[in-house]
Symmetry: C2
Subunit: 438 residues, 2 copies
């Protein structure tokens, strides 16, 4: 796999650059905005994720010899375009919502300013990263709300592409999960990793007690034993027989969880294992987690549903040209008028209006062409939502790597606390706050 | 991003190895099988994809200094396990369905034989790759059937994680798509790439005609012009005014497609552009494609729905221990008995029974423990489905790289032709042929 990200791009971006280099429009200054027309799945809010990853991927967006050879040999673009790409380096600016921030329909999540050529070329990469990561983070936030104070771990790597799995672990952590099973997410992003054991571990051994004994020998008494390989009741008995009542936890991965959890709790208590925790992990989503709120469950492990966005695997964001220079260097607001896909031209600035600490509206101010962004002073009751991410090609510090993940998680938890109560419901609904375009 | 794939792994795989190294079970020979309990989304067949990618990723499954440092510093496993991982290299065997092959519930898609340690460690990676790629290929095959002889291109990169997008383009091509917009898929897998232009291309220019003129100057008269930025009727007029009736094609990305396609066809014909093709690309899935069968559409571009598995973004395959050695070296069939997740122990061999060239059943023969696989001679009316992929750590030739993709696509198209007619329906149903476990 090439380390360059330059070909994670749709072919038309390069052929448009070819055409624009020929007719002179490639150097027209442009403003592109990335936003969502709606929140998928009847969600009440969205969570921005992927921004920190995107900045690093843009830094790796260079056409090396291998990439150029492919474009040349495959006659994707002409020699002049190859020469342009050879020295390509994004020198424009990115402004956008902080990673972890909430978003609503029409929120200008990312604004890219640069020449047409350097801004259009980032379309696919920016959308790939933000659409995937935000879909996971949005689902994860709902699960995190449903789980309340109970620990919540992401363990869905096996149900996602092998690299998307790492990004999904990262997005879930930003949106409130406490840990992941994915080791690469631990290495690359400094996210706490966790794990118990698989059914194969029990089946490998001649009997269940052997398996439990070996796990405790290696992992200590605080480990979590998987008790449902054969029969949960005999599994719990074997676990406590081997470990004693000081066993850390048991995991249940099958059955009707509210019923089974209650039975296992009673059984553990009978055996004196009153502090042994119960972790449940079978096909959980936000609804199943909410349904377990009154059950004696101590921790949740979530797989498929979080990495696939719980029914909405992509956030459906789009990347649109909203303003550009004309032949004389003047700025023009632009927007397409296509049936059911019309958008609003002009550069946007965004604020969240708050009343006594609770969000009441998303305010999106539309500039004519390329006026300066509205300032916070003009919206004194509102928090400005956009920050500089890249200035003239230079990535701003604090957003990339593990540092960026920690900041994004902290920011998310802080802004989630501003949501009105109605935002916390799980049923299909409209956005929790209105978007006012002014 | 690290080139090693060794940490694309759930933590519990390494902690199980730690426990197994301590109690001596790590070296027990094991057979794991990867299979699907059911076909998601009421599908009538599944398509295996990802196998060729998986083989290369297993070749890169080595713990380098960076990976080991993380495991050591994070105290994920003990020093003995670190030493084991340091020299780890998969030396077992993989047998499985060819890439592109069809599968049904219970089909033994992949069989991994080796020590417990070397087989359990591949669980997450194997599932990540096959679950993602097969979900895409299965959806893609349905779209390919619905499209019939009309060209079908994948253009969903922006709605998938940036690396999963490349894998999705590859899976869609294997399942019958003819091209992709994703350039890295072109470079890495030699898949034909295609593209037209975005709305931003039209908006960049002072008027639509300028945009069309510039695109034709760069791409030639055979290019496809996007005509719905402002108004489709005036867009078509501008396109033919600029290009003349010899224009290659127009693309429509919005509106009620059957109605709009018919109107555009009539309009093009009126203007004398009787050979100008119509490509449609707005939120298509297999149902929308089928609904356009009688419309004057010449080509389809599919985005979101194919890369997200059209409602089923993961194939839901699992990886289970089915046989292992005991302490004396004898073989034992094993299976868990968990509520609603029970599986069948023992190594499986698989055949597709055919009558006059049409598939009638999936035959899965279960061995007791580790008996030799049933041979084709025992099933003379059936085609054996498993081939050697890795023998004692050596990857068999022909499956990796572009060569493997070509072979997988050819194999898929050939075995799809064996399906009974009822397999081609799009509505929710059961598997097209029964699985007989014998």
């Amino acid at each position: 796999m090439s380390a360059s990200t330059a070909l994670l791009t749709d072919r038309y971006e390069l052929t448009m650059i070819e055409g624009a280099l020929r007719d002179g429009t490639a150097s027209r200054r442009c403003v592109f905005e990335l936003f969502a027309r709606r929140l998928p799945g009847g969600r009440r809010f969205g969570v921005v994720a992927g921004t920190g990853r995107l900045l690093s991927l843009i830094a790796d967006f260079r056409f090396g010899e291998e990439e150029l050879r492919f474009l040349r040999d495959g006659r994707v673009v002409d020699a002049e375009t190859i020469a342009f790409l050879e020295s390509f380096r994004f020198s424009g600016s990115l402004t956008g919502y902080r990673e972890g921030e909430l978003y609503f329909p029409g929120s200008p999540i990312l604004t890219v300013e640069g020449t047409f050529a350097e801004a259009v070329i980032l379309e696919t990469l920016a959308l790939s990263v933000l659409n995937h990561d935000s879909a996971v983070a949005t689902a994860a936030a709902r699960m995190s709300i449903a789980a309340g104070d109970r620990p919540l771990a992401e363990m869905g790597s096996r149900r996602a592409g092998e690299r998307s799995a790492v990004a999904a672990a990262r997005a879930a952590y930003i949106a409130g999960f406490g840990a992941t099973s994915n080791l690469e997410a631990g290495r690359a992003w400094d996210i706490p990793t966790m794990g118990t054991a698989a059914h194969s571990w029990t089946l490998l051994h001649d009997d269940e007690e052997d398996a439990f004994r070996a796990q405790i020998a290696a992992q200590g008494l605080d480990t979590t034993l998987l008790v449902d390989t054969y029969d949960i009741r005999t599994g719990v008995e074997a676990a406590i027989r081997v470990a004693g009542p000081g066993l850390g936890g048991v995991r249940i991965d099958s059955g009707d969880l509210p019923v089974v959890a209650a039975a296992v709790r009673a059984h553990l208590d009978d055996l004196g294992a009153v502090d042994t925790r119960i972790t449940v992990t079978s096909d959980l989503d936000e609804y199943a987690i909410a349904a377990l709120a009154a059950s004696p469950v101590d921790a949740y492990g979530v797989g498929t549903s979080v990495v696939t966005g719980s029914g909405s695997p992509t956030a459906g964001m789009v990347y649109k040209l909203v303003a550009r220079q004309d032949a004389d260097g003047g700025w023009v607001s632009v927007a397409k008028a296509s049936a059911d896909k019309a958008s609003t031209g002009g550069r946007k600035s965004a604020f969240r209006r708050l009343r006594e600490g609770t969000a009441t509206a998303e305010v999106v101010a539309v500039a004519d062409g390329f006026e300066p962004l509205a300032t916070a002073a003009q919206h004194p009751d509102a928090r400005p939502l956009q920050v500089d991410l890249i200035r003239s090609g230079e990535i701003m510090p604090g957003f990339e790597g593990p540092e960026g993940v920690r900041a994004a998680r902290a920011h998310h938890l802080s802004v989630r606390a501003e949501l009105p109560v109605r935002a916390l419901g799980l049923s299909r609904s409209g956005p929790a706050i209105p978007t006012h375009v002014v």
